[in-house]
Point group: D2
Chain length 240, copies 4
């Protein structure tokens, strides 16, 4: 049996590592089209009087001024979340490697609040609460699988088998960690697709776990760029 | 116990679905810089007399003329391979979804030829043969994990739990399938990083399983664009 | 005076050089998510019974299945059009080079139908007809500038000055030529931004000359992928 | 005659507007592969003891850790420089618009140091000094063209013709201004292609004027990320 302490988590980690992203960045970037060199006068200014401009850019889908920004997040989440995340190509990624290190036994398990049952048809699924029995079955099934998988992982490592081979048994609910860097335009696109929100112009049906990550990223974004965030909301959560 | 027939495979599938990619495409694209409209005369011509031009473009890293090409592959391979593959952002992907369908129990297991033991240090690993015991331990460990995981997957599905929740127990050695479309420049970049080959200008240390996919893609590429492929080889397998 | 025959054109050239793009491509690419390997059965099928699927993908903004397509156009248009065109980054370009060849004296001049006068304010301009005087003034001004510029270009070339230096005098109304390769998703994004059309969900205000290019590309697209094109129209000309 | 003061410049402007880019960023991004969550301990540390790691990453072409950085430049340069610049697609741009503002009469003219004469053949040009006569002819030709063009531009504007039409007469030597945001990996790729430098692994033959821009960007880069810059130099100025 494995001597490693197995951890089951039902949450995800999102930390803002660094950023160079403010509403003001959108303003000078947009102004260069009409003011040329004089747009530099706007660098460092308070953006609060430019709410109208930023709303206009978001509403009319002038997206490029939102790109002169950069946010880097550290994220810990299950592999099945990262699989969806990395389909977003306008971003930079570095992730923990199962080839270069022994992976720790941290696994995702749904919380009691996680809706377990899916109804409706492809493309317009809805999720509803599971019964206590369904929850219990799921937790038991996931725990057993993870324990067996991690035990077999350790057996192979103990036998001298390469990490990259041994890790193939690990389930997609295993936690991994990565840094991702995105600009505000790419982030708005990510949020529009990976959150389900009333009032969105285009409805999205994200898996709950990537939405948990997205929601935490959204909080940071709202704090760093409140006017841009407001414009995103007002324009139906469509990425400009 | 699951009534599904569990399949263990030690190979991968790569099929060329369609392509619009020939050596000639590189020629007219390159010629437009010096010949303008007259470059159209080269469209459809035999590229065999333009070997020198194509070699020059590859050697001097004029990459853009290689982009006016398109190859679509159908690939079946384990999830851990797709995880690495999709880090290549200059490509288009559509993959089988564990949210939208019940996944079949097809799992990757190393062949006897797969080198199981890793020596050397980070960044310059070498792989050597495992012992028969190591192979046996690995096969047993992987099979057991996969069986338990799939059984638990089925238990949750049988209990009415959503596919996207149930699938979290499945290991990264599960097969998935996808279409990927790339141009020749992006493909050469992929090959340069995902194959280990004598004579490469920059050595790469890919995991064997993604290399198995890359090798099959390389064969198709070599057949579709033999002169370009030759130029890639001659220039040390660096993507232009 | 230059011995070269100066040409003034009021139209643009768009030719489809090659393509690998059909409505069917969207179908199998989309099907892989629910059918996995079986999606290959759809390759080569008639897409006419999949109108609903394609409409759904466009409406709900599932964009990736539209990417497994490729269209290459040869375009001749003024430099100021190419300047706008090349801001579209999801595309491959090769253009005639003023460094590598002597540029021909072909210049764009507005036709009599080109609306010359701009009213309204930034972000919502409208264009109305110019007077015959305004047209005459414009034609005269453009022709004179082009003639003087080309004459000075030739003077420098005749004196042995490098092409890349001499060409700096040439105006942005000079014709250039290029190949551009795009997939259907990128092309729909281009069309949504570079055409002004009743019924567009998001209004765009393109310069007329790039719209002339876009309209010709749109015709090819509509012919190659009629069902996708219909879906694009129905969904308010938003790129999925 | 135009009442605007015509300005001829023989230099370019590059200002660093903001940045989030340090050698340390490369370190924690790289470390996540082997250290997972513990890589966060490296955030904010002095990178001077990680010279070996950064050199290794650059030499072996592990490019992704260099992407978690962001530099925004304000650049004023002639249109023919921007035409080349914007072919670099892994970057964000906003530029002054000839549709939205009246463009100022600032034009590029070569300095006396600019080598005017090109020898050798396509793909391996060399440039040598021009004679005083060649310089005089060039300056005269460029000035005359610019004056005539700007005069005609003003004539059309005075007659009420739209800016976007009137500007077509302006030459590519006209100055424009833009913001560009790039990460360090994209910037190294730009520098490798747009500077001619002894000791480069792959020789490049940039036009001198874009090289003037690149050189100024390179100075900022060397100051912000001195260890990364050193690694770039040591590895033959190839972008990792």
């Amino acid at each position: 049996m494995s001597e490693h302490e197995i951890i089951f988590r039902d949450d995800v980690t999102v930390e803002l590592i660094k950023s160079s992203a403010s509403d003001n960045d959108v303003v000078w970037a947009a102004r260069v089209s009409t003011a040329g060199e004089n747009s530099k006068d706007a660098v460092g200014e308070d953006a609060s009087r430019d709410v109208g401009l930023i709303n206009y850019l978001a509403r009319e889908r002038h997206g490029s001024p939102f790109e002169h920004t950069s946010m880097t997040f550290f994220i810990s989440a299950p592999i099945f979340v990262f699989r969806e995340f990395m389909r977003h190509r306008i971003a930079s990624y570095n992730e923990e490697s199962g080839r270069y290190r022994e992976l720790s036994p941290v696994f995702y398990i749904p919380s009691k609040e996680r809706k377990l049952v899916q109804i409706g048809k492809t493309g317009a699924y809805e999720f509803i609460d599971g019964t206590p029995e369904q929850y219990e079955i799921s937790v038991k099934a996931i725990k057993e699988s993870c324990l067996v998988a991690y035990e077999n992982y350790q057996k192979m490592l103990d036998a001298g088998v390469a990490r990259e081979v041994a890790r193939v048994v690990l389930p997609v609910t295993l936690f991994s960690s990565m840094y991702v860097t995105m600009n505000a335009r790419a982030l708005m696109n990510f949020l529009s697709l990976r959150t389900a929100r009333e009032g969105s112009h285009f409805p999205s049906y994200p898996q709950r776990e990537i939405e948990m990550v997205a929601e935490k990223m959204e909080e940071h974004f709202a704090q760093l760029m409140p006017i841009t965030y407001g414009a995103f909301q007002k324009s139906g959560r469509i990425a400009p």
